[in-house]
């Protein structure tokens, strides 16, 4: 499961030896996120976002469990119970603002994590399963976040639920029955809020389970690294602890500073003011917009305005929106280039940045009303999104001439530092090579 030169877990205290021989849990921790897990020594700060995502998930779970102690999932009391949390519950405002902004920050971290993976080819063999589990987590996160946004039962909650569940009514023949089944009525109502609360509570634990599977799958080949060259020997790696735990603590500090800036100084900057108006099924807000992190996909949904091939525009939009995420599952087989890192792929690197800008463009269009010129911009951006993955990536694998790769991770690291690689072949496996800088 790990490299042969990984540090061995050798508990010194008799108590830990006693535990280890009966329940080797400390050994498992040591081997997965401790000194027993060798990591490529050249990974940069973009590789910290996996750990940050795990912490963001834990913040959501802990604040969420606390909020559930004070929240009341009923259409007559939900809105008031959220206000009760904000005004009466001791520190309730803090915990709710952490949960609200924590969701946004979780998505920021996840999106950076995904774009890191796209840049360094983290989805390629032998890490396809790691990537696909990640896409599954993204889908679960979107479902969880959407249902959580419905719970305060404000105007955006209600109308967001209305619009998103209406998507399913676009499915031919059975669509309307599915929509009614999902909301438990003819429109979002009490049955909707109670089931969404139940699922919103349980799905984060499902995510946690998938995260554990993902870490398990990751630890078979280990992390990628900015060169994309495979680990060849002990000179290429450093133990996760203390080298990368220390680095992760540093990035966590920065993360918590930014998080606190939002929680304490602009807690509603990422939300929508209409959600502080109680839900009213007889009055629609002027612009129904989802939370910011769903905007690019909302733009794809709305990009289809004409019926085509007997399929109505509304259904095309729904198909495209789901396809835009589901196609990520096939990414390892759409990109057949054997060079992982975009650093050594001059053409792919250009298109990567086009895709990056394109996502912001889609997000911007998603926030704008459905009128010109936004509709046309959204259509072009949607076309590029699909072309990038379905046409450009497969083609690039054939026409691109990659730059020469370094011979090894250690060579690329020490070439930068102007030193010669330390040969550690003679050193016992427990010894740790000196840090790079």
């Amino acid at each position: 499961m790990s490299f042969p030169w990984a540090n061995q877990y050798q508990p010194k205290s008799p108590l830990m030896q006693w535990v280890d021989s009966r329940l080797p849990l400390p050994r498992l921790v040591y081997n997965s996120v401790g000194a027993g897990y060798p990591v490529p020594r050249n990974i940069n700060y973009l590789y910290n976002f996996g750990v940050l995502a795990g912490i963001a998930l834990m913040i959501q779970i802990i604040t969420g469990i606390v909020l559930a102690m004070h929240y009341s999932a009923h259409i007559t009391t939900a809105f008031d119970s959220v206000e009760h949390i904000m005004r009466n519950v001791n520190s309730g405002w803090l915990i709710r603002y952490m949960h609200m902004n924590g969701a946004s920050f979780f998505f920021i971290v996840i999106y950076i994590h995904i774009f890191r993976g796209l840049y360094y080819g983290s989805y390629k063999a032998p890490r396809e399963m790691v990537w696909m589990l990640g896409v599954l987590i993204l889908l679960l996160m979107m479902a969880t976040a959407f249902m959580g946004y419905v719970l305060p039962w404000g105007q955006m909650s209600f109308w967001g639920a209305q619009v998103i569940t209406s998507l399913f009514s676009a499915i031919p023949l059975v669509g309307e029955s599915i929509r009614i089944w999902l909301v438990g009525g003819f429109a979002p109502d009490n049955a909707t809020i109670t089931r969404f609360f139940s699922l919103h509570y349980v799905l984060p634990f499902v995510i946690l389970g998938v995260v554990i599977l993902k870490i398990w799958a990751l630890h078979i080949p280990g992390s990628t690294n900015p060169t994309g060259v495979d680990v060849q020997g002990p000179q290429d790696t450093l133990p996760f602890h203390p080298y990368f735990t220390a680095k992760d603590f540093f990035s966590l500090t920065i993360y918590l500073m930014l998080f606190s800036a939002f929680v304490f100084f602009m807690p509603n900057a990422l939300g929508h003011p209409d959600n502080y108006i109680p839900a009213n099924p007889l009055s629609t807000p002027a612009h129904i917009v989802p939370e910011w992190y769903l905007l690019p996909f909302y733009a794809i949904l709305r990009a289809f305005t004409i019926d085509f091939l007997w399929i109505p525009a509304k259904l095309w939009g729904v198909i495209a929106m789901f396809a835009s995420i589901l196609l990520l599952f096939f990414l390892p087989w759409l990109d057949t280039s054997r060079v992982k890192s975009a650093t050594y792929r001059p053409l792919y690197k250009k298109f990567y940045w086009v895709l990056f800008v394109n996502m912001f463009l889609l997000g911007y269009v998603g926030a704008m009303p459905a009128e010109e010129p936004y509709v046309r911009i959204g259509q072009i951006a949607t076309a590029y999104y699909f072309a990038h993955f379905l046409i450009i990536m497969p083609l690039l694998s054939f026409i691109e001439k990659p730059l020469p790769l370094p011979n090894s991770i250690a060579e690329s690291v020490f070439a930068k530092a102007g030193k010669k690689p330390v040969t550690v072949g003679a050193v016992p496996s427990a010894a740790q090579p000196a840090p790079a800088e």
């Binding site: 109308w159 209305q162 619009v163 209406s166 009614i180 089944w181 999902l182 438990g184 009525g185 003819f186 429109a187 979002p188 109502d189 049955a191 089931r195 099924p281 007889l282 009055s283 629609t284 002027a286 612009h287 129904i288 009303p369 459905a370 009128e371």
Partner: protein, 185 residues
Amino acid sequence: MATTPETMTDGADGVRRRDFIYVATGAFAAVGAAAVVWPFVNQMNPSADVRALATIEIDLSSILPGQAIKTIWQSKPVFVRNLTPVEQDEANKVPLAELRDPQTLADRTKDGNRNWLITLGICTHLGCVPLGASEGENKGDYGGYFCPCHGSHYDTAARIRRGPAPTNLFVPAYAFKTPTLIEIG
């Protein structure tokens, strides 16, 4: 891999008695599992109290010509409008070829009650609630309903005339129980 004579009977077509037992057991388990899963799926469908409100009765006697009311049916807004003769004439004058979703006023009302226009108050574009049912609200350029979200104008027969909405306001199934009482649903 115990190949006793009992399990090996009937070797002519390669089918053993044990194969039948496997298939029968599997089929029985699948049917049983489906029977257990169904209640867990079905519990998410509308409950009896929600279904009980699937139809409503509306008393029309207090709605004067030119007036409209908003009410709720299946948690959705419904507009009930008493059209004046002028409004009916306006709707009847429009050539069908001009309409995005061609329907006559007669298609959208009941025989003998052409003045009663009953529609859902849900814009067919993105589901907003159009204005025009209450006194003093903007009725749009065609005197019917106006959706403020993306500017869809509906005429006096609640047909889409201008704006992004694809179809006319939906006319739900309803019936006159007495001349002044309708049942929707």
